[in-house]
């Protein structure tokens, strides 16, 4: 009986959450032709581990991850003017791997206090070097297949850079928020910020190279939609 009552109470709470919060969705597009990405060939071919891995077909920078119809990935979308609402301590950890001497994924967004686990799936050494502007800097050794490294950040910060100085083409950017209302656009350009309480907000979309666009939005019980279009002139 007690168990049934508990389940009923949880069900009502969950329904209340859904009724009182909507999803914020949208699509990010790019107009214009972005500059050519830089090849890692000249750097990677000097490294015996990497030359074996890629056998002449070397990767490039991925500053502009654009779909066939201009869908723009890796854009950080977040609500502005919200702070002190982090649920990071109880949120599931986010994982970032070092694979083929590249960070995968290269763009990550987490909350303050949320765990970020950095793996090394490569068989060779990396150093995991963070170069933040608001949080403390760190530089740690990670041997090939070595133990995972765990990071948490106390202060919000956009594009906190992770780099490997052993392989100087390796970068990842971690945006840290002290609230859960953010998302990254995927390869289809789409993003979803879940469970946003109804209200009026400023929504910001930031691309590392193209800067920030903002929009004033109103989120209702059934959510809201907002698209952004970046342009390369």
């Amino acid at each position: 009986m007690k168990k049934s009552l508990l389940l009923l109470a949880l069900g009502i709470f969950a329904m209340g959450r859904i009724a009182g919060a909507g999803d914020l969705t949208g699509t990010i597009s790019l107009k214009g032709t972005p500059p050519a990405e830089a090849s890692f060939a000249s750097k990677m071919q000097d490294d015996p581990n990497c030359s074996v891995l890629y056998a002449g077909k070397y990767p490039t920078t991925r500053f502009y991850v654009v779909g066939a119809n201009g869908e723009l990935a890796d854009v950080v979308v977040s609500l502005q003017g919200i702070s002190g609402k982090s649920t990071g301590a109880s949120a599931a950890p986010v994982t970032m791997d070092q694979k083929g001497a590249l960070y995968v994924p290269q763009m990550v967004a987490i909350q303050t206090g949320q765990k970020l686990i950095v793996k090394n799936s490569d068989t060779f050494i990396h150093n995991v070097h963070t170069t933040p502007t608001a949080n403390p800097e760190s530089n740690q050794v990670q041997m090939g297949g070595g133990a995972d490294l765990t990071y948490t950040f106390d202060k919000p910060e956009m594009f906190l850079k992770f780099k490997c100085d052993v392989h100087p083409w390796m970068f990842a950017w971690v945006s840290v928020f002290d609230h859960p209302y953010f998302a990254l656009s995927g390869p289809d350009g789409k993003f979803t910020i879940k469970n946003v309480p109804p209200g009026k907000y400023t929504l910001a979309a930031t691309h590392r190279k193209l800067g920030t666009q903002t929009a004033e939005i109103e989120v209702k019980d059934d959510g809201a939609a907002q698209n952004f279009t970046f342009e390369v002139k």
């Binding site: 490294d47 581990n49 150093n127 170069t131 530089n139 740690q140 050794v141 100087p168 800067g211």
Partner: protein
């Protein structure tokens, strides 16, 4: 002066100076390859005693940083031996203290390099670079002071070098040192090229540095592999670097012209000044090549080494001129 020329001491001082020059080149490679933090610990290397670090782990940026540390240890050892040797064998008190100064400077430089790694402070790379140039000048000066020419030149008739010419060369040399500080600041921004074209800058003589213009440069400049976006400060710094380079070139050209006029075309100091001008011409070509090659590591490092050579040439020219003038009475 009772000091006698000691060939062994002189050639050892030359060896130390050459090793220091190579160390600056290797340090240049470390920064050009963005490898300064590739070994996160110091004085150990990935937990190993640095002299026992396995060769198969010298990969990527570790190769440059670890080699730099090993060569720095060699220079430290050579400088220590040189300081002791000068103290024991040279009768000139002032050169004893010069040797001690070099010893203290190389220790300070090692600690500075170590702290840059341990404290993860990028900006410490700038004083590290400045001390490196100062130390190179010091080791080369010691080699000059222990040379046969310096010690036995008192017995020969020397030609006076006019004060105006000496002062001119000294001022240009100081300007080169300031230029090297600007260059070290640029290199330790880790943002790639702040201006990607030459001789113009973003198609203009003096480009806009408004926030909108900087955002446009960042969005449209060729994608380098570096991580940081450029700032207005970095654009202005490179423009200043270019202006100072032109000023130095004119200063060195004037020095060569003045030397020819005052000392004659056959005077060794005139020939040395012409060599200086050739170095500066090469340096400007290398500066342009650094931009045109999108900061290729080997070109950029050569630019660093020729810059160090230009500083050294100016300083040695001035020291020789001072010596000649003093002996000419």
């Amino acid at each position: 002066m009772n000091q006698k020329y000691n060939p062994a001491l002189f050639w050892f001082a030359v060896l130390n100076a050459v090793a220091t020059f190579l160390l600056i080149g290797l340090g240049g490679l470390v920064t050009s390859h963005e490898a300064g933090m590739s070994v996160p610990d110091w004085p150990t290397t990935y937990g190993y005693n640095m002299f026992l670090f396995p060769v198969d782990k010298w990969i990527g940026g570790i190769f440059y940083e670890h080699s730099h540390r090993l060569l720095a240890s060699v220079v430290g050892l050579l400088t220590t031996i040189l300081a002791v040797w000068l103290w024991l064998q040279d009768s000139r008190k002032w050169i004893h203290w010069l040797g001690i100064g070099a010893f203290l400077l190389v220790i300070a430089q090692g600690i500075l390099g170590g702290l840059r790694v341990r404290w993860q402070l990028d900006w410490l790379g700038v004083p590290h670079g400045a001390v490196a140039q100062t130390f190179l000048v010091l080791t080369c000066s010691i080699a000059l002071f222990t040379s046969r020419w310096w010690i036995h030149s008192a017995a020969e008739k020397q030609i006076y070098v006019p004060r105006g010419l000496r002062s001119h060369v000294l001022y240009v040399t100081i300007l080169i040192f300031i230029q090297l500080l600007i260059a070290a600041t640029m290199r330790h921004q880790h943002a790639g090229l702040a201006i990607t074209d030459f001789p113009l800058a973003y198609g203009k003589i003096w480009p806009a540095t408004t926030p909108e213009a900087i955002a446009h440069y960042n969005a449209t400049r060729p994608a380098g592999t570096f991580g940081n976006p450029i700032t207005a400060f970095q654009v202005n710094l490179q423009l200043i670097h270019r202006l100072v380079a032109y000023t130095i070139f004119l200063g060195v050209a004037a020095a060569a012209g003045l030397a020819r006029k005052k000392l004659g075309g056959r005077d060794p100091l005139t020939k040395f000044a012409v060599f200086w001008l050739v170095l500066l011409s090469l340096q400007i070509v290398l500066g342009a090549a650094t931009i045109w090659s999108n900061k290729a590591a080997d070109v950029t490092t050569l630019h660093v080494m020729v810059g160090a050579s230009a500083l050294l040439t100016g300083m040695l020219w001035w020291l020789v001129a001072q010596r000649r003038t003093r002996l000419a009475g």
